[in-house]
Each structure stands twice: as C-alpha cells, then as structure tokens.
Symmetry: C2
Subunit: 112 residues, 2 copies
C-alpha cells in the first residue's frame, strides 16, 4: 500500500502555451506500482485556462472544489464540487476556471 496526502505532493506548473496559472500534482503514478492508470490533481487559478488540445487517452475527472467550464468536441458544461466527467480519447477539449477561487479536480489517465 502507498498512502499520501495532497499537502505532501509537489505542485508543478503545467508547461503548455496558454496554460498560465495551471498546476498539477501527480498523486499516484507508475513508480508507485500503478501500472494501469495515474491519478493527478489539477489546480487552476481564477481565470486560468487549459487551451483546446487533444490526445489519444481518455480522462476521468472529479471536481473537488471551485468551478469551471469544460469543453469537449461540440459540448461545453459548467461543473462544480461533486461533478464528474468522462472525456473520450481523441476529442478536442479545454478547461477554464470561471469562479473566483481555485478550481481543483482529479484527473485520471490510463497508461496506454
């Protein structure tokens, strides 16, 4: 078993053009023994965005706090604490913090 707490995990800036104010914590990953999927925690500062992008892996997302807008393909949804999302592989998607506090969510991705 590996146990930890978010307060102990490094908070790293996400290196992506247009993604200023976006941070990531890798909570559970391959070198913890997790061979099928990784658990990450994202923090978007008020106004921060993750621009439209796509990749071949899916997302499973759970919103912990704050609020934001998530777009995928032709859809856009507003989410808040307790919201969850499944975003298919190979679909363009984007994020924006639309509130006045940090928007924090978990995002699980597969190791393909």
């Amino acid at each position: 078993m590996k146990a930890g707490h978010v307060n102990e995990v490094p908070v790293e800036p996400v290196e992506m053009k247009g993604a200023e104010g976006v941070y990531i914590q890798w909570l559970i990953k391959k070198d913890d023994g997790a061979k099928n999927y990784a658990m990450r925690r994202f923090i978007l500062k008020p106004g921060a965005k993750i621009p439209r992008h796509m990749h071949e892996w899916e997302h499973e997302i759970f919103v912990l706090s704050g609020k934001g807008k998530v777009g995928a393909g032709e859809e856009e949804v507003e989410v808040g604490p307790g919201s969850f999302l499944y975003i298919e592989p190979d679909i363009p998607h984007w994020y924006e913090n639309t509130g006045d506090e940090d928007w924090v969510f978990l995002c699980i991705i597969p190791y393909l």
Copy 2:
C-alpha cells in the same frame, strides 16, 4: 463527453457480509464508454466497515470527506480529506469509518 453530479447517481448498498452501512455509487463505468477503469464513490456510515477481502485488481483511492482506517497486508493507516492510497492487486485489505460523520472516498478500479 459524459458529465454528471454525485447527487444524480443512485446510492446502492454494498452487498457483503459485515459491510452494513456501506454504500456505493458508480460514477463512470464501462457503459459510459470508459473501457480501462471505473470511478466509484463509497460512503461508509459512522462505525461501518468493509471486512478484510482480496481480489486481483488494484485500487486508487482519494478521500473526499470524513475519516477512516485502511488496512492492507501488514499495514494500517489513518486517512482523511485529501489522503490518497494505492492498494496493490492480490493483497488483503479492509476499511473502517473511525469518525462520527460519513466517510466518503473515490475508488478507481481497472477493467481487467
């Protein structure tokens, strides 16, 4: 994209001897398109336990609220909001709500 909220998802009792007061919500699952892993939300009422058991799939857990004790193999840890856990496949593990409010956590399992 599939979007939802925990308030909209059925809360089902966990059918397991000794697991009275344990409930599960399947947030993201195979019939939503998720083919690699499922996201579930567990609710353990105060005093509720999930007895020692094992299986061939791992767990990735994130504690949302409340507090509890998780055992796996020879280890036991106390967890609370913001705690996360990786529990290896094929290791005996168990859970107990040690607080006076509901203990709520996410638990992601692979589709093997």
